[in-house]
């Protein structure tokens, strides 16, 4: 199974070409947050998408919450990028992962009630999280389509891609449009801020002086289809999807479990029919919090031994885009394989000895990659790992 289309909305570039350029250049999406009122916070830097023009891709964006606008725009870009003229005759699935869904819309309603202001029917209509996938189907004009909004928090993008892989592999569908989307919201920022897990300046995963995440937003959608179908229609192939794994820590509400994360990586590698030594690059969950980075790197060493493959964190550029994070990271893996480079971990000064990975600091490098692993961890212990390979 192969990836034949990519759609991206991100703080470092929109569209596959711009996004790839941003990754290669080590661009930073960090800027002062403008999505909500940050009065009273000592610092408020995030990775917002600015200048987003949904009308470039969508017929009726005004009825959709921002995260669904991101998802539908990315999906439309991905379908065009794949050269799929119309999907009306194909059995199609749309799966969009998310952490907050339309949480930004819910917050505005909560705010209105607190202020004693009215709440309108148009406002509440945007709240259900189902819009993130249903909105895509509506914009693409699809009716007989399997839609899922996968709400497995910050690993949701990988969950959606994993289900897309299974849906195509089992023959349930011909084409899967899968990825993730989230819009900046006050709740996520405030929660991480309260936990002391928001960096005041920029996101620096694996660095000794890392101080946490930056919240971000965006979307990425991948088009998956069987290799023979892609070849038959002469499609451009970015990369192959080799397999995936998913499991649950069934433990602490927010702290990741090293043993369980390692088990998830092993599940994925085994599913792909590989051994750990065949993995050339890991795109880590790499949030930049103390707990995540140490636990994840420990799990990586448990699986790969003392000299693991290069392990990079694209969140250094994009911030933590929540449900979109592992989808944007997957898009980065796919572009790295297609173009032969490793995206850097930016803002890096000194690697934390407790992490001890080659995170490709600050500058991307050319590399002949065959297999790339995409890690995703979430609150609640929802882990998912997807493996991509160079196009066959």
């Amino acid at each position: 199974m192969v990836v034949t289309g990519l759609g991206v909305v991100s703080s470092i570039g929109t569209g596959a070409v711009e996004y790839a350029a941003g990754l290669r250049a080590g661009r930073s999406g960090a800027r002062p947050i403008g999505a909500f009122d940050t009065t009273g916070f000592a610092h408020a830097v995030g990775c917002e998408v600015v200048g987003f023009e949904p009308r470039r891709w969508l017929a009726a964006p005004a009825t959709l919450p921002r995260a669904a606008q991101f998802a539908a725009s990315a999906a439309t870009m991905a379908v065009r990028d794949a050269g799929l003229d119309g999907l009306a005759d194909a059995r199609t699935m749309i799966s969009v992962g998310t952490t907050d869904g339309s949480g930004d819309r819910g917050e505005r309603i909560a705010g209105a009630v607190v202020r004693g202001a009215d709440v309108t029917a148009a406002q509440v209509a945007q709240v259900p999280a189902s819009w993130l996938s249903v909105g895509v189907a509506r914009e693409l004009g699809l009716s007989t389509v399997d839609v899922s909004t996968v709400a497995t928090a910050c690993a949701a993008g990988n969950y959606a891609i994993g289900d897309g892989y299974d849906a195509v592999a089992t023959g349930d569908v011909d084409v899967a449009l899968c990825g993730g989307a989230d819009a900046m919201c006050r709740m996520t920022f405030t929660g991480f801020y309260r936990l002391g897990a928001v960096d005041p300046v920029h996101c620096r995963p694996f660095d000794t002086d890392r101080k946490g995440i930056l919240t971000g937003e965006g979307a990425a959608v991948l088009v998956l289809e069987p290799l023979d179908a892609a070849l038959a229609r002469g499609a451009r192939i970015y990369a192959e999807v080799l397999g995936h794994g998913l499991n649950c820590d069934a433990g602490h509400p927010v702290a990741p479990d090293r043993e369980s994360v390692a088990r998830c990586m092993r599940l994925a590698i085994e599913d792909a029919g590989l051994v750990p030594g065949q993995v050339d690059l890991i795109s880590a969950h790499g949030t930049g919090t103390r707990a995540n980075d140490v636990t994840e790197c420990g799990a990586i060493r448990d699986v790969f031994g003392d000299t693991p493959p290069r392990t990079v964190a694209v969140k250094s550029m994009l911030g933590h885009t929540m449900g979109a994070a592992s989808a944007l990271s997957a898009a980065a893996c796919v572009l790295a394989l297609a173009h032969g480079f490793v995206p850097p971990t930016i803002n890096h000064v000194r690697t934390d000895p407790e992490c001890a990975v080659d995170c490709v600091p600050n500058t991307s490098v050319e590399a002949d990659l065959r297999v790339v692993q995409n890690n995703a961890l979430a609150f609640g212990g929802n882990n998912s790992v997807v493996l991509f390979g160079r196009k066959p």
Partner: protein, 354 residues
């Protein structure tokens, strides 16, 4: 499809567990309702609440201090199902797949209100944060009961039964899970009432959680509550939900003779679903159950409650043996869909849509 429902349980306005729900559905009379009012929706509103549902009494004090009701309903119901039924077998690949509308709206709104009204905007309770996320019910359900397999939350609203069964079926066919607690939960709260009323929903609201234990259809004989033979969803254009549901039903019921259909559960109260089924079958269905009239509009849980109601009635109805039951769903976002199950006790038919 290759999915069997081995067992089910529910926490509902009729009470706790399989038997309380089955008895309530059998009487056909609505569960008790109470007047409710809170700061988010002064109302007053009348709702069907789960009786005797004190979270700390039921689940203990550890980890429950700020637990939302949706999560507690799921944790409790998964526990009831695991204890009640020996057909529920758990190993390292046993997982959880739950449907939701948008998680616990009350937790999200409360968290936001704290940020907007307290002395500093960051003086929120960080312990609330995981419960504000939509995956809380499935994730806590797993940790409470040691379920380390796939753990997924699908935000499908009233289409949740169809969505979780379709997703669960794939996990079982690919061998990623050995068995799954598949269901949905919805809590009653002032914020939910506010959103539903402003959206024009005038139905009496309810709450609860229904969970099915599903596994791959085995070789050979084994007792199950039902086998899922087909499911289907469509996205309808504006004002075309009935037509879309009719098309969905025609597809899912391919190969099923009209007289084979014994039972129907509908998600709404407006008759659209019954009319669509009647149009497709050309005859009325013998037994129609409307969970929303019994336990209130339970949002994401409504479809799983519908399936549970059908299974509960079939357990007591000889006429249901070996026949087919259908649960339909309609959501405001335009999605429609249905689940078709074959009830136990007779020869398993070959006919199915997908």
């Amino acid at each position: 499809m290759a999915l069997e429902i081995a067992a089910w349980s529910a926490t509902s306005p009729f009470g706790h567990g399989h038997d309380a729900f089955a008895a309530g559905v059998a009487t056909g009379a609505p569960a008790p309702a109470a007047q409710v009012s809170d700061e988010w929706f002064p109302g007053p509103d009348t709702a069907h609440l789960v009786p005797d549902f004190d979270i700390q009494d039921l689940l203990g004090r550890k980890g429950t201090g700020v637990m939302d009701r949706t999560t507690a309903l799921a944790v409790h119901t998964i526990g009831l199902l695991g204890e009640q039924d020996q057909r529920v077998r758990i190993d390292a690949r046993t997982g959880v797949v739950l449907g939701t509308t948008s998680g616990s709206t009350l937790t999200q709104f409360t968290f936001t209100a704290h940020s907007l009204t307290r002395r500093k905007p960051y003086l929120v309770d960080p312990a609330q944060m995981p419960f504000a996320l939509m995956n809380s019910a499935a994730a806590r359900g797993a940790s409470w009961h040691g379920l380390t397999g796939p753990n997924t939350t699908l935000a499908a609203g009233r289409l949740s039964a169809v969505a979780v069964l379709r997703y669960a079926d794939r996990l079982l066919r690919t061998g990623r899970a050995s068995g799954l607690f598949a269901g949905a939960a919805e809590e009653y709260s002032g914020p939910r009432a506010l959103l539903e009323r402003r959206a024009g929903n005038r139905a009496r609201l309810g709450e609860g959680c229904a969970v099915l234990f599903v596994r791959a259809v085995p070789e050979g004989n084994r007792s199950a509550a039902a086998t899922v033979v087909a499911l289907d969803t469509r996205l309808a254009g504006d004002g075309e939900q009935r037509a879309a549901l009719t098309a969905s039903l025609r597809h899912a019921l391919t190969g099923v003779a009209p007289e084979e259909v014994w039972g129907l559960a509908v998600s709404g109260v407006d008759g659209v679903e019954s009319e669509a089924v009647r149009e497709v079958l050309g005859m009325p269905v013998e037994r129609v159950v409307e969970p929303s009239r019994l336990v209130g509009d339970t949002g994401a849980a409504s479809g799983v409650f519908g399936l549970a109601a059908l299974l509960a009635l079939a357990e007591r109805a000889g006429a249901a043996r070996g026949r087919v039951a259908v649960a339909t769903a309609v959501e405001r976002d335009g999605m429609v869909g249905c689940v078709v199950v074959r009830l136990p006790g007779g020869p398993v038919g070959e006919g199915s849509g997908t």
